[in-house]
Amino acid sequence: MVTSAFAGEIPRSERRSGYAFMSRETRAMQDDDSANPGMLWVLEGEGLWNRKTGAASRSCADCHGDARASMKGVAARHPSFGAAHGRPVSLEQRINVCRINAQKAPALAWESRDLLALTAYVARQSRGLPIEIAIDQRMEPFLDAGRAAFHRRQGQLNLACSQCHDDNWGRRLAGNVIPQAHPTGYPLYRLEWQSLGSLQRRLRNCLVGMRAEPYDYGAPELVDLELFLMWRARGMTFEAPGVRP
């Protein structure tokens, strides 16, 4: 297990979800299922879960049954090791593996409405559970790569993720409070996006903000970073679909 602490690492007792930095109104929006726009995608995802698709004419439910039982805790354990890939895979990639192998259907595009809806529906089943990322020998090198990316200065502004999210959280970047970057609510509804979005979309946003060239969706570098962030938030409560400003 990796236990070494970096200089600026946030002590476990001081970790806070992005939720804690939001205004009262935005928190109320997330808490109320009839006001949380992310629930629109959850509703749609439930429909897709039960719809037969692909050459195999099989629905998610045909294999996995009732998602409320079978998908409980799944999103809180991703990225997890994908034996066929030989590396960690994100929840979106896991869904597409099922589409290709079991349903014989084409993969869904990143940030497409259907992929977001299915991801949101699966993630919803983990709400309230603690994030649990199991790191074994196979996963360790990828976690290390993610950690290195988090601490590596990059882009024209020569910034590392850790400089904002470890060293300066709670302070302001222009008008916004800098959160600690714990991915507790993904996929989440960002008011700025007027839409649901994945963690990778958010990471790419940050990279553009640092004037770095963002990695492509599904790039191994982004999955490694996702893995590190989820591991860094281990034990925190999963709250998907979240709402963020």
């Binding site: 109320d32 299922d33 009839s34 006001a35 726009p37 629930m39 629109l40 509703l43 749609e44 007027q194």
Partner: protein, 106 residues
């Protein structure tokens, strides 16, 4: 694709003020934005929301550009009798969604 979430208390006392909350999936494209090639993106918004309670209109809202995507509309009404609350959203490009919810008043 259009889906709506509606929250109405399933039962209420006669004369009680109840809160009705609705959320609908819609892009609410303003008609003022331009694509990356400079072409105007045509307006696509919900224009009108109407709620009727056993056939009587109890709430109406006109929507305009600059209202956020996925409009959330909440209002209150008085629970007068058991029956149906019907909701209708209409907008550009023939957008039309109708939903209804039953309420028991005792």
């Amino acid at each position: 694709m259009a889906s709506a979430l509606i929250n109405v208390p399933p039962r209420a006392r006669r004369g009680e003020i109840i809160e009705v909350k609705t959320l609908i999936s819609h892009p609410m494209e303003t008609g003022y934005r331009r694509s990356q090639l400079g072409a105007l993106i045509p307006r696509d918004i919900i224009r009108l929301f109407v709620c009727t309670y056993n056939g009587t209109e109890v709430f109406r809202a006109e929507l305009h550009p600059a209202i956020a995507a996925n409009p959330f509309i909440a209002f209150s009404t008085v629970a007068t009798e058991s029956g149906t609350l019907a909701f209708q959203w209409t907008g550009d490009n023939g957008f039309s969604v109708a939903e209804s919810v039953a309420i028991t008043v005792e």
